[in-house]
Amino acid sequence: MITAVVEAPIRRPLLPGVGGEKVVETRGLTKRYGTGIVAVDSLDLSVYRGEVYGFLGPNGAGKTTTLRMLLGLIRPSAGIATVAGAAPGSPASLSKVGAIVETPAFYPYMTGYDNLRLLATYCGVKRSRVDETLAEVELTPRAHHKFSTYSLGMKQRLGIAGALLKEPELLILDEPTNGLDPQGMADVRNLIIELGKGDRTVLISSHLLGEVELMCTRVGVIRKGKIVAEGTVDQLRGAATLAVRGTPEETAKAVLIDEAGAENVTALGDASFTVRVDLQRTAEINKHLVDAGVAVTELRADERSLEDIFMELTGTEGGL
């Protein structure tokens, strides 16, 4: 198993990064069920103010259980957690957190507007926020239709509107694009990117790699209830390498070692090599190979996809 904990990225000046303000922090968070199943196993997680944190893992990895524990819906068997400066599920914490857990759940016999009005009553926010959030998720034209008549995408947008009512410091979104068609996914994704632009912290769980890559500034990969890697997408991906194929093989190898050092050249056989080198030197390396009489048949940047990393870390196939 690969465990790679890397520094948080600097997405905006003075904002996230190790040492920044932690909006979510868990230490040894564990959920064990009576059946002996350990859904979440000693999870240490830190999410910093202002970042869009992607909680990535295959189905059944423990993402939803973790998020439910952060919201106080599920009580941990062990460990501690702080969410928005208070205990998970406490009124002090919940007043600063907006959330969607799995599918958004509303009262089917009420309109979208009335559902949000109801939530506004529970949260103690002004009714004018209802109109504002409906506009924010572009649901105003359908606001006075019953929730039961909404499409999946509209339900998801209403869920996001409900989560935004409190103007929360922290948004927790569990698989926010689940079940949506490609257009709906794109809409919700763009909306989340917009929402993450301010000082707000967003914690998103997903098993969709492309989604996380597009939205998140930092990613934590969870497998069997444990974080197995954490960092920016680029950090997880690691440095790109140069793929080279050229003959004669020995000459090519000598040139590459001369250019990048023996420790950075890996021979793959069949006159192929990977070279850990600054990719800006690609043209220069190509010139030296040709000057040495090497016939270069392949020369390209070899970047590991997030899907490769995901599969490597979780032992599963990616969602996309």
Binding site: A105, M110, L118, Y122
Partner: protein, 283 residues
């Protein structure tokens, strides 16, 4: 939280349909059909009655002076079933729709939410009871008018006490429904078991045990809820029909019944509160 719960209830068609059905049944079963049978008795229907007594004599039960007794005796259990369903719907649907997680991720604590719901449920039950009494009062007046009888209602304090008693009975059923739906985290099982208890379990068990005779069965029965709803209803007296001897007094008095029903309400509230506070929400 109370405001929020009331907001939901007022907009929920199912609750109003249920109350409307209860009121329609109160008129149909309690008065219209009964009046028709008493007025136009089928041949041979007087068999088994004491000499000189006819079905028409039973019409006295339909007149305003008896509407309180009539309402309590007829609807203590049957009306209670409607209250039970209201209680189940108000809580069980939250599990069915998954809205329980939406509720619990708002600002207030779980118990605050629960007590807001119980308060709203109390309002619905109060509306149900007052509407039932109003409908029965109206129906009994109409029957008296049709039969050319004087309209004479029981004293206001008797009516008020009866409404409070019915509120306690219906309240017990409603909180029983709320507790069942919390235990089972769904409506269907809660309604099924609630109905089974209301219509079969207690009645059947003590009905069969009653065949054994002796006081011991009644001594045990006095601690059970349906028996106590009956004691409370019967504490308002029984309807006197010409030629029929007055019924025996209830085994336990109204105070016993009120205390027992309060205890049941408190116990079911405590169970619901405990489960609400401690359970994981995985739906």
């Amino acid at each position: 939280m109370f405001r929020g719960e009331l907001f939901k209830v007022v907009r929920r068609p199912g609750i109003w349909v249920l109350i409307s059905v209860l009121l329609v049944l109160a008129i149909l079963i309690g008065y219209a059909i009964t009046w028709l049978i008493y007025t136009y008795p089928p041949p041979g229907s007087n068999q088994g009655l004491p000499p000189g007594t006819t079905l028409a004599d039973f019409k006295v039960a339909l007149y305003p002076q008896n509407f309180v007794r009539q309402t309590l005796s007829q609807w203590g259990v049957l009306g209670g079933v409607f209250a039970l369903i209201v209680g189940v719907l108000m809580q069980g649907s939250e599990y069915g729709w998954g809205t329980i997680k939406t509720l619990y991720t708002q600002r207030s604590g779980r118990l605050t939410m629960l007590f807001g719901k119980i308060a709203a449920l109390a309002v619905v039950v109060a509306v149900m009871v007052v509407a039932l009494f109003a409908v029965d009062a109206g129906a009994s007046s109409l029957v008296a008018l049709v039969d050319g009888k004087t309209i004479s209602f029981p004293a206001a304090d008797v009516i008020a006490k009866a409404i409070v008693a019915a509120f306690l009975i219906f309240g017990f059923w409603a909180i029983f429904g709320l507790a069942l739906s919390t235990v089972f985290r769904q409506s269907a099982m809660a309604i099924g078991l609630g109905l089974a208890y209301a219509l079969v379990v207690e009645v059947l068990i003590f009905g069969l045990l009653g065949g054994l005779g002796g006081d011991i069965v009644k001594k045990i029965q006095q601690w059970f809820p349906i028996a106590n709803t009956s004691y409370l209803s019967e504490s308002f007296g029984s309807i006197r029909v010409r030629g029929i001897q007055g019924q025996t007094t209830p085994y336990a008095d109204a105070t016993h019944a009120v205390v027992m029903l309060f205890l049941y309400v408190a116990a079911f509230t405590a169970i619901t509160a405990y489960l609400t506070r401690t359970r994981d929400i995985t739906a």
